[in-house]
Amino acid sequence: MLRKSFESEIQNMKNEILAFGSMVEQNLLESVDALKTRDVNRSHKVVEVDKIINKKRFELENEVMILIATQQPMAKDLRLLSSFFEIISELERMGDYAKGIGVINIRMGSEELLKPLVDIPRMAEKSADMAHRALVAFINEDVEAAKSIPAEDDEVDALYNQIYRELITYIISDPKAIEKANWLLWVAHNLERFADRVINICERTLFVVNGRLGEIEDAL
């Protein structure tokens, strides 16, 4: 009976983390779309949503703490609950990158984009999709899926390098473009960091299932 209620509480917690992750993914996509359309109002909303994400993070942490205190988990339960902590704080930091992109768009004010955005939205879509699938893999304890996602980070890195080279070309040909190029470099950098953190979520899935705590590259 006790075990049954604990399991349903764990399931609730997983659902809440998935929903929390969706907030973060959506806010990232929104931050890039607002930039693409130069819609500063939408970026202000992105910043507001990030405040909600920050608050939600503490609420979720508190729920995990209560579960630990009341259930005194062991073995896999313990690994799962401690991974909740890790993933909740990863997601909160990933949310900060969306906010960062929102702030860049706000700072740009009425300036036009250096160039129409093509690769940056692709990077955002790829990163958000990776984050989503990493969370689903975590919740389903799907080791194979968790192991396959980190390799996709190479695609994000390739896009980042491509954007970097392109923006450097702009700067070389027109030093007045430095500031505008720099804004976009920061956006791309935020997206690259966002995708990097997805790997940490995948590592936790392996830890929960196998009890193996370590870098995912060593397990591939």
Binding site: L2, R3, F6, Q72, P73, M74, A75, K76, D77, L78, R79, G211
Partner: protein, 257 residues
């Protein structure tokens, strides 16, 4: 399963035990008990933990035993050998039980009784033993002003620590405790657990805990017993965070037991 180490105090090799009525048995147990560490034996009731403790202290009545195999070495001496001097063995391996059994004497006499039986009558040495063992059992500060009160007047937690002190007075090598805090409140339990952490610096401790949480809190090494078998042994607390055997996982996460 067992990694031999230089620091092992007790080595159990291929130990099997069967009672006449066939109720509780141990099957081919191999286990090393590390010196100056707390080894916990845990698992559901009827798993053989207490039988193993009793075997280590040779407390089983030979008439109850149908068959016994294997070896239990204390240092290098096989304690199952018929030549073993049981009085001497039980002096080296002290035992504390779930319910504190104080003698109907004063606090002081409870501790000096065993020493006097062994021929110690020097008052200064007896007083030393009283203070030393009460300090080791984390009881001295609480009761040093009332050593001549009857021991039964102590609280349950104090009585249990008095039993530990009484065991310590004989200066054993090994202390075995069978659910020593099962009848105690959390504060007394904490005091007993704290004193075990101090005691392991000098003694080798084998503890049958009353809960998985106590096992996890106190263990330096842990052995999980189920239905007479040693299912999993870990040096360190790994068995509580990442057990390797499914039966252990099921037990520590509360799926049965």
């Amino acid at each position: 399963m067992v990694t031999p180490a230089m620091t092992d105090k007790i080595k159990i090799e291929g130990f099997s035990l069967q009672y006449q009525d066939g109720t509780e048995t141990l099957r081919n147990v191999n286990l090393s008990i590390e010196k100056n560490a707390i080894t916990v034996l845990f698992g559901p009731a009827g798993g053989g933990k207490s039988s193993l403790l009793r075997s280590i202290n040779r407390l089983n009545d030979p008439e109850d035993i149908k068959q016994i195999d294997g070896h239990i070495f204390l240092d290098s001496e096989d304690i199952l050998s018929p030549k073993v001097d049981l009085i001497n063995l039980r002096r080296k391996i002290g035992m504390v039980f779930a319910r504190p059994v104080v003698l109907p004497l004063t606090i002081r006499k409870n501790i000096t009784y065993g020493l006097e039986v062994m021929g110690e009558h020097n008052k200064a040495r007896l007083d030393d033993a009283v203070e030393r063992s009460l300090r080791q059992a984390a009881l001295w500060e609480e009761i040093n002003h009332r050593l001549d009160d009857p021991a039964v007047a102590l609280s349950g937690g104090q009585q249990q620590r008095l039993c530990i002190a009484r065991t310590l007075a004989l200066e054993p090598d090994v202390i075995m405790l069978d659910e020593p805090t099962s009848g105690l409140d959390p504060i007394s339990t904490g005091k007993v657990e704290n004193s075990l952490q101090e005691l392991k610096k000098q003694y080798t401790i084998i503890l049958v805990p009353h809960s998985v949480q106590q096992a996890a809190r106190t263990a330096d090494n842990a052995a999980f017993f189920l239905q007479g078998e040693l299912i999993e042994f870990s040096r360190g607390k790994g068995i509580f965070t990442a057990p390797t055997v499914k039966k252990t996982e099921d037990y520590v996460t509360g799926r049965f037991g």
